[in-house]
Symmetry: C2
Subunit: 275 residues, 2 copies
Protein backbone atom coordinates (compact mmCIF):
# COMPACT_ATOMS: atom_id res chain seq x y z
CA UNK A 1 0.00 0.00 0.00
CA UNK A 2 1.29 3.43 -0.95
CA UNK A 3 0.83 6.73 0.84
CA UNK A 4 1.24 10.13 -0.79
CA UNK A 5 3.28 12.74 1.10
CA UNK A 6 3.54 16.12 -0.60
CA UNK A 7 2.58 14.42 -3.85
CA UNK A 8 5.31 11.77 -3.70
CA UNK A 9 4.37 8.12 -3.24
CA UNK A 10 5.91 6.11 -0.41
CA UNK A 11 5.37 2.53 0.70
CA UNK A 12 3.32 2.62 3.92
CA UNK A 13 6.30 1.41 5.96
CA UNK A 14 8.38 4.33 4.65
CA UNK A 15 5.66 6.97 5.05
CA UNK A 16 7.22 8.92 7.90
CA UNK A 17 7.40 12.60 8.75
CA UNK A 18 9.66 14.57 11.05
CA UNK A 19 8.61 14.92 14.69
CA UNK A 20 9.00 18.66 14.08
CA UNK A 21 5.61 18.62 12.32
CA UNK A 22 3.03 20.87 13.98
CA UNK A 23 0.49 18.01 14.07
CA UNK A 24 2.76 16.14 16.48
CA UNK A 25 3.95 19.26 18.31
CA UNK A 26 0.63 21.13 18.57
CA UNK A 27 -2.15 18.93 17.18
CA UNK A 28 -2.41 21.38 14.30
CA UNK A 29 -3.98 20.06 11.13
CA UNK A 30 -7.13 19.52 9.11
CA UNK A 31 -8.30 16.62 7.02
CA UNK A 32 -11.08 15.27 4.92
CA UNK A 33 -12.30 11.82 4.11
CA UNK A 34 -14.09 10.55 1.03
CA UNK A 35 -14.72 7.15 -0.45
CA UNK A 36 -14.10 5.49 -3.79
CA UNK A 37 -16.37 2.90 -5.36
CA UNK A 38 -14.88 0.94 -8.24
CA UNK A 39 -11.91 3.31 -8.13
CA UNK A 40 -14.13 6.38 -8.57
CA UNK A 41 -14.06 9.07 -5.83
CA UNK A 42 -17.64 9.88 -4.80
CA UNK A 43 -18.90 13.49 -4.46
CA UNK A 44 -15.32 14.70 -4.77
CA UNK A 45 -16.25 18.33 -5.49
CA UNK A 46 -18.21 18.53 -2.22
CA UNK A 47 -15.27 17.14 -0.25
CA UNK A 48 -12.84 19.48 -1.99
CA UNK A 49 -15.09 22.44 -1.16
CA UNK A 50 -14.95 21.51 2.52
CA UNK A 51 -11.22 20.66 2.51
CA UNK A 52 -10.17 23.98 0.96
CA UNK A 53 -12.59 25.80 3.29
CA UNK A 54 -11.05 24.09 6.35
CA UNK A 55 -7.56 24.97 5.12
CA UNK A 56 -8.49 28.61 4.65
CA UNK A 57 -10.10 28.88 8.09
CA UNK A 58 -6.93 27.49 9.69
CA UNK A 59 -4.60 29.69 7.56
CA UNK A 60 -3.06 26.64 5.90
CA UNK A 61 -2.10 26.96 2.26
CA UNK A 62 -2.85 24.01 -0.01
CA UNK A 63 0.04 24.01 -2.45
CA UNK A 64 -1.94 21.93 -4.95
CA UNK A 65 -4.82 23.38 -6.94
CA UNK A 66 -8.07 21.39 -6.99
CA UNK A 67 -7.07 19.87 -10.32
CA UNK A 68 -3.63 18.93 -9.00
CA UNK A 69 -5.10 17.47 -5.81
CA UNK A 70 -7.56 15.45 -7.89
CA UNK A 71 -4.65 14.17 -9.99
CA UNK A 72 -2.65 13.29 -6.85
CA UNK A 73 -5.60 11.25 -5.60
CA UNK A 74 -6.06 9.50 -8.95
CA UNK A 75 -2.34 8.69 -9.01
CA UNK A 76 -2.63 7.06 -5.58
CA UNK A 77 -5.77 5.17 -6.61
CA UNK A 78 -4.06 3.88 -9.75
CA UNK A 79 -1.03 2.73 -7.80
CA UNK A 80 -2.88 1.05 -4.92
CA UNK A 81 -5.75 -0.52 -6.86
CA UNK A 82 -8.19 -0.75 -3.93
CA UNK A 83 -11.50 -0.26 -5.81
CA UNK A 84 -13.65 0.36 -2.71
CA UNK A 85 -11.69 2.55 -0.34
CA UNK A 86 -11.55 5.47 2.03
CA UNK A 87 -9.27 8.36 1.06
CA UNK A 88 -8.01 10.54 3.88
CA UNK A 89 -6.38 13.85 2.97
CA UNK A 90 -4.47 15.40 5.90
CA UNK A 91 -2.94 18.87 5.87
CA UNK A 92 -0.69 19.73 8.83
CA UNK A 93 0.99 22.91 10.07
CA UNK A 94 4.32 21.73 8.64
CA UNK A 95 7.83 21.35 10.04
CA UNK A 96 8.09 24.21 12.50
CA UNK A 97 11.54 25.17 13.71
CA UNK A 98 10.28 26.58 16.99
CA UNK A 99 7.45 24.04 17.35
CA UNK A 100 4.90 26.86 17.33
CA UNK A 101 5.02 29.01 14.21
CA UNK A 102 3.10 27.77 11.19
CA UNK A 103 5.21 27.06 8.13
CA UNK A 104 4.78 25.23 4.83
CA UNK A 105 2.03 22.62 5.36
CA UNK A 106 2.53 18.92 4.74
CA UNK A 107 -0.08 17.12 2.64
CA UNK A 108 -0.62 13.43 3.36
CA UNK A 109 -3.03 11.22 1.41
CA UNK A 110 -3.82 7.77 2.78
CA UNK A 111 -6.00 5.15 1.14
CA UNK A 112 -7.51 2.25 3.07
CA UNK A 113 -9.85 -0.58 2.06
CA UNK A 114 -13.50 0.07 2.87
CA UNK A 115 -16.29 -2.45 3.14
CA UNK A 116 -19.26 -0.96 1.41
CA UNK A 117 -22.13 -1.11 3.89
CA UNK A 118 -25.57 -1.82 2.48
CA UNK A 119 -26.99 -2.07 6.03
CA UNK A 120 -30.54 -2.99 5.02
CA UNK A 121 -30.53 -5.74 7.63
CA UNK A 122 -27.83 -4.54 10.02
CA UNK A 123 -28.43 -3.91 13.70
CA UNK A 124 -28.58 -0.28 14.79
CA UNK A 125 -26.03 1.53 16.91
CA UNK A 126 -26.10 2.23 20.63
CA UNK A 127 -24.97 5.77 21.47
CA UNK A 128 -24.01 7.28 24.81
CA UNK A 129 -24.38 11.03 25.25
CA UNK A 130 -21.58 13.30 26.47
CA UNK A 131 -21.50 17.03 27.15
CA UNK A 132 -18.92 18.36 24.71
CA UNK A 133 -18.93 21.11 22.12
CA UNK A 134 -16.31 20.64 19.38
CA UNK A 135 -14.12 23.73 18.98
CA UNK A 136 -14.13 25.47 15.57
CA UNK A 137 -17.01 23.08 14.69
CA UNK A 138 -17.41 23.96 10.99
CA UNK A 139 -13.78 23.05 10.31
CA UNK A 140 -12.73 19.42 9.97
CA UNK A 141 -9.68 19.66 12.23
CA UNK A 142 -7.71 16.63 13.43
CA UNK A 143 -8.86 17.34 17.02
CA UNK A 144 -10.39 14.08 18.33
CA UNK A 145 -9.00 14.40 21.87
CA UNK A 146 -12.36 13.75 23.50
CA UNK A 147 -13.45 11.04 21.07
CA UNK A 148 -10.30 8.98 21.58
CA UNK A 149 -10.07 9.65 25.32
CA UNK A 150 -13.68 8.54 25.77
CA UNK A 151 -13.30 5.19 23.96
CA UNK A 152 -13.10 3.61 27.41
CA UNK A 153 -16.24 5.46 28.54
CA UNK A 154 -18.10 4.25 25.44
CA UNK A 155 -17.17 0.64 26.20
CA UNK A 156 -18.09 0.97 29.86
CA UNK A 157 -21.53 2.14 28.75
CA UNK A 158 -21.93 -0.79 26.35
CA UNK A 159 -22.25 1.70 23.50
CA UNK A 160 -20.83 1.87 19.97
CA UNK A 161 -20.18 5.58 19.85
CA UNK A 162 -20.62 9.00 21.50
CA UNK A 163 -23.40 11.50 20.96
CA UNK A 164 -22.12 14.99 21.80
CA UNK A 165 -24.47 17.57 23.25
CA UNK A 166 -23.83 21.14 24.34
CA UNK A 167 -25.53 21.39 27.74
CA UNK A 168 -28.48 19.30 26.52
CA UNK A 169 -28.59 20.57 22.94
CA UNK A 170 -27.79 17.60 20.72
CA UNK A 171 -24.94 18.22 18.28
CA UNK A 172 -23.30 15.29 16.48
CA UNK A 173 -21.22 12.14 16.86
CA UNK A 174 -17.42 12.38 16.68
CA UNK A 175 -17.40 11.17 13.05
CA UNK A 176 -21.02 11.51 11.96
CA UNK A 177 -24.00 13.84 11.97
CA UNK A 178 -27.13 12.86 13.83
CA UNK A 179 -30.84 12.96 12.91
CA UNK A 180 -34.10 12.16 14.63
CA UNK A 181 -37.42 11.32 12.99
CA UNK A 182 -40.75 12.43 14.49
CA UNK A 183 -44.28 11.99 13.11
CA UNK A 184 -43.77 14.32 10.18
CA UNK A 185 -40.29 15.79 10.57
CA UNK A 186 -36.71 14.70 10.13
CA UNK A 187 -34.65 16.93 12.42
CA UNK A 188 -30.92 17.60 12.61
CA UNK A 189 -28.87 20.24 14.44
CA UNK A 190 -28.10 23.38 12.50
CA UNK A 191 -25.38 25.18 14.50
CA UNK A 192 -22.02 24.30 16.03
CA UNK A 193 -21.64 21.08 14.03
CA UNK A 194 -19.51 19.89 11.15
CA UNK A 195 -21.42 20.24 7.90
CA UNK A 196 -21.25 16.65 6.72
CA UNK A 197 -21.41 15.93 3.00
CA UNK A 198 -23.74 12.96 3.60
CA UNK A 199 -25.89 15.23 5.83
CA UNK A 200 -26.12 17.70 2.95
CA UNK A 201 -27.10 14.97 0.48
CA UNK A 202 -29.81 13.74 2.87
CA UNK A 203 -31.22 17.26 3.27
CA UNK A 204 -31.55 17.43 -0.53
CA UNK A 205 -33.81 14.33 -0.66
CA UNK A 206 -37.58 14.27 -0.89
CA UNK A 207 -39.27 12.05 1.68
CA UNK A 208 -43.07 11.96 1.17
CA UNK A 209 -44.96 12.94 4.32
CA UNK A 210 -41.85 14.38 6.00
CA UNK A 211 -40.19 17.79 6.19
CA UNK A 212 -36.50 18.28 6.94
CA UNK A 213 -35.88 20.71 9.79
CA UNK A 214 -32.51 22.11 10.87
CA UNK A 215 -32.75 23.33 14.46
CA UNK A 216 -31.54 22.75 18.02
CA UNK A 217 -33.19 19.82 19.78
CA UNK A 218 -32.72 18.25 23.19
CA UNK A 219 -31.60 14.83 24.35
CA UNK A 220 -35.16 14.29 25.61
CA UNK A 221 -36.52 14.83 22.12
CA UNK A 222 -34.02 12.27 20.87
CA UNK A 223 -35.11 9.72 23.50
CA UNK A 224 -38.76 10.22 22.41
CA UNK A 225 -38.09 10.07 18.66
CA UNK A 226 -39.72 7.52 16.35
CA UNK A 227 -36.34 6.85 14.79
CA UNK A 228 -32.80 8.13 15.07
CA UNK A 229 -29.90 7.71 12.69
CA UNK A 230 -26.38 8.90 11.98
CA UNK A 231 -25.00 10.00 8.64
CA UNK A 232 -21.43 9.68 7.45
CA UNK A 233 -19.39 8.99 4.35
CA UNK A 234 -18.74 5.41 5.40
CA UNK A 235 -22.07 4.53 7.00
CA UNK A 236 -24.48 6.58 4.82
CA UNK A 237 -27.72 6.72 6.88
CA UNK A 238 -27.34 4.18 9.67
CA UNK A 239 -29.99 3.37 12.32
CA UNK A 240 -29.50 4.22 15.99
CA UNK A 241 -31.37 1.77 18.23
CA UNK A 242 -30.39 3.05 21.65
CA UNK A 243 -29.32 6.30 23.29
CA UNK A 244 -28.13 6.20 26.90
CA UNK A 245 -29.59 2.72 27.21
CA UNK A 246 -33.06 3.83 26.10
CA UNK A 247 -34.62 2.10 23.09
CA UNK A 248 -35.56 4.51 20.30
CA UNK A 249 -38.86 3.93 18.48
CA UNK A 250 -39.96 0.44 17.46
CA UNK A 251 -36.58 -0.56 16.00
CA UNK A 252 -37.88 -0.86 12.43
CA UNK A 253 -36.13 2.30 11.18
CA UNK A 254 -38.40 2.49 8.14
CA UNK A 255 -37.60 6.11 7.27
CA UNK A 256 -33.90 5.65 7.93
CA UNK A 257 -33.76 2.71 5.55
CA UNK A 258 -35.70 4.63 2.93
CA UNK A 259 -33.25 7.55 3.23
CA UNK A 260 -30.35 5.15 3.01
CA UNK A 261 -31.72 3.63 -0.19
CA UNK A 262 -32.10 7.09 -1.71
CA UNK A 263 -28.50 7.91 -0.71
CA UNK A 264 -27.26 4.74 -2.36
CA UNK A 265 -29.04 5.83 -5.55
CA UNK A 266 -27.32 9.24 -5.41
CA UNK A 267 -23.96 7.56 -4.85
CA UNK A 268 -24.56 5.19 -7.77
CA UNK A 269 -25.45 8.12 -10.00
CA UNK A 270 -22.23 9.92 -9.03
CA UNK A 271 -20.19 6.76 -9.40
CA UNK A 272 -21.45 6.24 -12.94
CA UNK A 273 -21.26 9.91 -13.82
CA UNK A 274 -17.60 10.00 -14.75
CA UNK A 275 -16.46 6.42 -14.96
CA UNK B 1 21.29 17.59 17.80
CA UNK B 2 19.76 14.29 18.87
CA UNK B 3 16.13 13.43 19.53
CA UNK B 4 14.98 10.50 21.60
CA UNK B 5 12.17 8.35 20.19
CA UNK B 6 11.05 5.48 22.40
CA UNK B 7 14.36 5.76 24.23
CA UNK B 8 16.52 5.48 21.12
CA UNK B 9 18.59 8.45 19.99
CA UNK B 10 18.25 9.75 16.43
CA UNK B 11 19.88 12.69 14.67
CA UNK B 12 17.23 15.40 14.29
CA UNK B 13 17.13 14.90 10.51
CA UNK B 14 16.35 11.20 11.04
CA UNK B 15 13.79 11.71 13.82
CA UNK B 16 10.70 10.68 11.90
CA UNK B 17 7.58 8.78 12.83
CA UNK B 18 4.95 7.02 10.75
CA UNK B 19 2.01 9.07 9.52
CA UNK B 20 -0.13 6.36 11.18
CA UNK B 21 0.59 8.00 14.54
CA UNK B 22 -2.55 9.20 16.33
CA UNK B 23 -1.02 12.65 16.88
CA UNK B 24 -1.05 13.17 13.10
CA UNK B 25 -4.32 11.30 12.53
CA UNK B 26 -6.32 12.63 15.49
CA UNK B 27 -4.27 15.27 17.31
CA UNK B 28 -4.00 12.81 20.19
CA UNK B 29 -1.11 13.34 22.55
CA UNK B 30 0.17 14.99 25.70
CA UNK B 31 3.47 16.62 26.50
CA UNK B 32 5.44 18.43 29.11
CA UNK B 33 8.21 20.97 28.96
CA UNK B 34 10.97 21.64 31.47
CA UNK B 35 14.25 23.45 31.33
CA UNK B 36 17.84 22.59 32.13
CA UNK B 37 20.38 25.01 33.55
CA UNK B 38 24.00 23.90 33.34
CA UNK B 39 22.73 20.52 32.19
CA UNK B 40 20.56 20.07 35.29
CA UNK B 41 16.78 19.60 34.77
CA UNK B 42 14.93 22.05 37.03
CA UNK B 43 11.98 20.96 39.24
CA UNK B 44 11.94 17.64 37.42
CA UNK B 45 9.76 15.86 40.01
CA UNK B 46 7.02 18.48 39.58
CA UNK B 47 7.09 18.08 35.81
CA UNK B 48 7.06 14.30 36.10
CA UNK B 49 4.04 14.48 38.42
CA UNK B 50 2.15 16.47 35.82
CA UNK B 51 3.34 14.38 32.86
CA UNK B 52 2.29 11.07 34.41
CA UNK B 53 -0.99 12.67 35.51
CA UNK B 54 -1.69 13.89 31.96
CA UNK B 55 -0.89 10.43 30.59
CA UNK B 56 -3.25 8.76 33.05
CA UNK B 57 -6.09 11.17 32.31
CA UNK B 58 -5.74 10.44 28.59
CA UNK B 59 -5.41 6.65 29.12
CA UNK B 60 -1.88 6.65 27.69
CA UNK B 61 0.60 4.27 29.25
CA UNK B 62 4.12 5.56 29.83
CA UNK B 63 6.29 2.53 29.21
CA UNK B 64 9.18 4.06 31.15
CA UNK B 65 9.10 4.38 34.93
CA UNK B 66 9.99 7.77 36.41
CA UNK B 67 13.55 6.56 37.00
CA UNK B 68 13.83 5.28 33.43
CA UNK B 69 12.37 8.49 32.01
CA UNK B 70 14.84 10.50 34.08
CA UNK B 71 17.66 8.35 32.71
CA UNK B 72 16.39 8.79 29.15
CA UNK B 73 16.47 12.56 29.63
CA UNK B 74 19.96 12.50 31.15
CA UNK B 75 21.17 10.34 28.24
CA UNK B 76 19.84 12.94 25.79
CA UNK B 77 21.39 15.80 27.79
CA UNK B 78 24.76 14.03 27.86
CA UNK B 79 24.68 13.43 24.12
CA UNK B 80 23.53 16.90 23.07
CA UNK B 81 25.50 19.01 25.54
CA UNK B 82 23.23 22.06 25.46
CA UNK B 83 23.66 23.29 29.05
CA UNK B 84 20.72 25.72 29.04
CA UNK B 85 17.86 24.08 27.23
CA UNK B 86 14.20 23.27 27.00
CA UNK B 87 13.24 19.59 27.15
CA UNK B 88 9.95 18.63 25.55
CA UNK B 89 8.52 15.20 26.33
CA UNK B 90 5.71 14.19 23.96
CA UNK B 91 3.57 11.09 24.36
CA UNK B 92 1.27 10.27 21.44
CA UNK B 93 -1.54 7.77 20.90
CA UNK B 94 0.79 5.52 18.90
CA UNK B 95 0.65 3.92 15.47
CA UNK B 96 -3.01 3.10 15.06
CA UNK B 97 -3.99 0.64 12.33
CA UNK B 98 -7.47 2.07 11.92
CA UNK B 99 -6.41 5.67 12.62
CA UNK B 100 -8.75 5.79 15.61
CA UNK B 101 -8.05 3.14 18.23
CA UNK B 102 -5.38 3.94 20.80
CA UNK B 103 -2.41 1.60 20.79
CA UNK B 104 1.12 1.58 22.24
CA UNK B 105 2.11 5.23 22.76
CA UNK B 106 5.20 6.78 21.20
CA UNK B 107 7.50 8.77 23.49
CA UNK B 108 9.49 11.59 21.90
CA UNK B 109 11.99 13.74 23.79
CA UNK B 110 13.31 16.86 22.09
CA UNK B 111 15.93 19.24 23.48
CA UNK B 112 16.34 22.80 22.20
CA UNK B 113 18.65 25.63 23.24
CA UNK B 114 17.05 28.13 25.60
CA UNK B 115 18.15 31.66 26.34
CA UNK B 116 17.86 32.14 30.06
CA UNK B 117 15.80 35.27 30.57
CA UNK B 118 16.70 37.47 33.51
CA UNK B 119 14.18 40.10 32.35
CA UNK B 120 14.99 42.71 35.01
CA UNK B 121 15.08 45.39 32.33
CA UNK B 122 12.99 43.81 29.60
CA UNK B 123 9.87 45.37 28.17
CA UNK B 124 6.57 43.81 29.16
CA UNK B 125 4.23 41.89 26.91
CA UNK B 126 1.12 43.10 25.10
CA UNK B 127 -1.75 40.60 25.29
CA UNK B 128 -5.00 40.48 23.34
CA UNK B 129 -7.97 38.73 24.92
CA UNK B 130 -9.95 35.97 23.20
CA UNK B 131 -13.01 34.03 24.33
CA UNK B 132 -11.83 30.43 24.48
CA UNK B 133 -11.91 27.74 27.13
CA UNK B 134 -9.26 25.03 26.68
CA UNK B 135 -10.78 21.54 26.68
CA UNK B 136 -9.59 19.10 29.38
CA UNK B 137 -7.79 22.12 30.89
CA UNK B 138 -5.86 20.33 33.68
CA UNK B 139 -4.18 18.07 31.15
CA UNK B 140 -1.25 19.29 29.08
CA UNK B 141 -2.52 17.99 25.74
CA UNK B 142 -0.93 18.89 22.41
CA UNK B 143 -4.12 20.79 21.44
CA UNK B 144 -3.02 24.29 20.38
CA UNK B 145 -5.49 24.64 17.51
CA UNK B 146 -6.72 28.05 18.66
CA UNK B 147 -3.31 29.37 19.67
CA UNK B 148 -1.73 28.58 16.31
CA UNK B 149 -4.77 29.59 14.27
CA UNK B 150 -4.89 32.95 16.08
CA UNK B 151 -1.24 33.89 15.44
CA UNK B 152 -2.54 36.11 12.65
CA UNK B 153 -5.11 37.70 14.98
CA UNK B 154 -2.38 38.39 17.57
CA UNK B 155 -0.26 40.15 14.97
CA UNK B 156 -3.20 42.14 13.64
CA UNK B 157 -3.78 43.39 17.18
CA UNK B 158 -0.12 44.37 17.60
CA UNK B 159 0.09 41.93 20.52
CA UNK B 160 2.67 39.37 21.65
CA UNK B 161 0.28 36.69 22.80
CA UNK B 162 -3.32 35.71 23.59
CA UNK B 163 -5.14 35.96 26.90
CA UNK B 164 -7.95 33.39 26.98
CA UNK B 165 -11.14 34.14 28.89
CA UNK B 166 -14.30 32.07 29.30
CA UNK B 167 -17.12 34.55 28.64
CA UNK B 168 -15.29 37.28 30.54
CA UNK B 169 -13.67 35.12 33.20
CA UNK B 170 -9.91 35.35 32.68
CA UNK B 171 -8.19 31.98 32.34
CA UNK B 172 -4.63 31.79 31.01
CA UNK B 173 -2.37 32.34 28.01
CA UNK B 174 -1.80 29.49 25.55
CA UNK B 175 1.59 28.64 27.11
CA UNK B 176 1.54 30.51 30.44
CA UNK B 177 -0.56 31.22 33.49
CA UNK B 178 -1.70 34.75 34.21
CA UNK B 179 -1.68 36.87 37.37
CA UNK B 180 -2.87 40.35 38.34
CA UNK B 181 -1.66 42.46 41.26
CA UNK B 182 -4.03 44.75 43.19
CA UNK B 183 -3.32 46.89 46.28
CA UNK B 184 -2.82 43.93 48.58
CA UNK B 185 -3.55 40.83 46.53
CA UNK B 186 -1.90 38.77 43.81
CA UNK B 187 -4.72 37.01 41.98
CA UNK B 188 -4.74 34.10 39.56
CA UNK B 189 -7.53 31.91 38.16
CA UNK B 190 -8.24 28.72 40.06
CA UNK B 191 -10.45 26.64 37.76
CA UNK B 192 -10.37 25.47 34.16
CA UNK B 193 -6.68 26.23 33.70
CA UNK B 194 -3.49 24.24 33.35
CA UNK B 195 -1.76 24.01 36.71
CA UNK B 196 1.60 25.46 35.77
CA UNK B 197 4.68 24.42 37.72
CA UNK B 198 5.95 28.02 37.77
CA UNK B 199 2.48 29.13 38.93
CA UNK B 200 2.71 26.65 41.79
CA UNK B 201 6.19 27.88 42.78
CA UNK B 202 4.95 31.48 42.78
CA UNK B 203 1.99 30.59 45.01
CA UNK B 204 4.47 29.12 47.51
CA UNK B 205 6.37 32.42 47.87
CA UNK B 206 5.95 34.98 50.62
CA UNK B 207 5.46 38.54 49.40
CA UNK B 208 5.26 41.02 52.31
CA UNK B 209 2.04 43.07 52.23
CA UNK B 210 0.38 40.79 49.68
CA UNK B 211 -1.86 37.73 49.84
CA UNK B 212 -2.13 35.20 47.04
CA UNK B 213 -5.73 34.55 45.96
CA UNK B 214 -6.91 31.85 43.55
CA UNK B 215 -10.30 32.83 42.15
CA UNK B 216 -12.20 33.82 39.03
CA UNK B 217 -11.67 37.40 37.93
CA UNK B 218 -12.89 39.45 34.99
CA UNK B 219 -11.15 41.13 32.10
CA UNK B 220 -12.21 44.46 33.64
CA UNK B 221 -10.36 43.61 36.84
CA UNK B 222 -7.31 42.84 34.73
CA UNK B 223 -7.54 46.18 32.91
CA UNK B 224 -7.71 47.98 36.31
CA UNK B 225 -4.87 46.03 37.94
CA UNK B 226 -1.73 47.69 39.34
CA UNK B 227 0.37 45.06 37.59
CA UNK B 228 -0.16 41.97 35.49
CA UNK B 229 2.26 39.20 34.64
CA UNK B 230 2.49 35.76 33.09
CA UNK B 231 4.28 32.75 34.52
CA UNK B 232 5.90 29.95 32.56
CA UNK B 233 8.88 27.63 32.63
CA UNK B 234 10.73 29.69 30.07
CA UNK B 235 9.70 33.21 31.11
CA UNK B 236 9.41 32.77 34.90
CA UNK B 237 7.37 35.81 36.06
CA UNK B 238 7.23 38.19 33.13
CA UNK B 239 5.52 41.62 33.10
CA UNK B 240 2.45 42.34 31.01
CA UNK B 241 2.27 46.00 30.00
CA UNK B 242 -0.85 46.03 27.87
CA UNK B 243 -4.09 44.09 27.53
CA UNK B 244 -6.36 44.84 24.56
CA UNK B 245 -4.39 48.03 23.97
CA UNK B 246 -4.93 49.30 27.52
CA UNK B 247 -1.87 50.12 29.60
CA UNK B 248 -1.75 48.19 32.89
CA UNK B 249 -0.58 50.06 36.02
CA UNK B 250 2.38 52.43 35.93
CA UNK B 251 4.62 50.06 33.99
CA UNK B 252 7.13 49.64 36.83
CA UNK B 253 6.10 46.03 37.62
CA UNK B 254 7.71 46.23 41.07
CA UNK B 255 5.95 43.20 42.51
CA UNK B 256 6.38 41.17 39.34
CA UNK B 257 10.12 41.79 39.39
CA UNK B 258 10.31 40.91 43.07
CA UNK B 259 8.47 37.64 42.41
CA UNK B 260 10.74 36.93 39.47
CA UNK B 261 13.83 37.42 41.64
CA UNK B 262 12.42 35.01 44.24
CA UNK B 263 11.72 32.47 41.49
CA UNK B 264 15.28 32.75 40.22
CA UNK B 265 16.48 32.01 43.76
CA UNK B 266 14.29 28.89 43.91
CA UNK B 267 15.58 27.78 40.52
CA UNK B 268 19.17 28.33 41.63
CA UNK B 269 18.56 26.30 44.77
CA UNK B 270 17.14 23.43 42.73
CA UNK B 271 19.92 23.70 40.18
CA UNK B 272 22.57 23.38 42.90
CA UNK B 273 20.62 20.73 44.79
CA UNK B 274 21.76 17.75 42.81
CA UNK B 275 24.56 18.91 40.59
Amino acid sequence: MYISINNELFLAEDANISVADLSIQRGYGIFDFLKTINNKPIFIEDYFNRFYHSAKEMHLEVELSRTQLHEAILKLIARNNIPNSGIKIILTGGFSEDGYTMVKPNLIIIQTPLNIIENSTSKGLALVSYNHQRQIPQVKTIDYLQAIRLQKFVKENAADDLLYHNHGKVRECPRANFFIVTDHEIITAKDEILNGITRKKILSLEVPGYTFVERDFTLDEAYQAKEAFISSSTKNAFPVDKIDGKLIGDGKSTITRLINDRLLELIELDQKGES
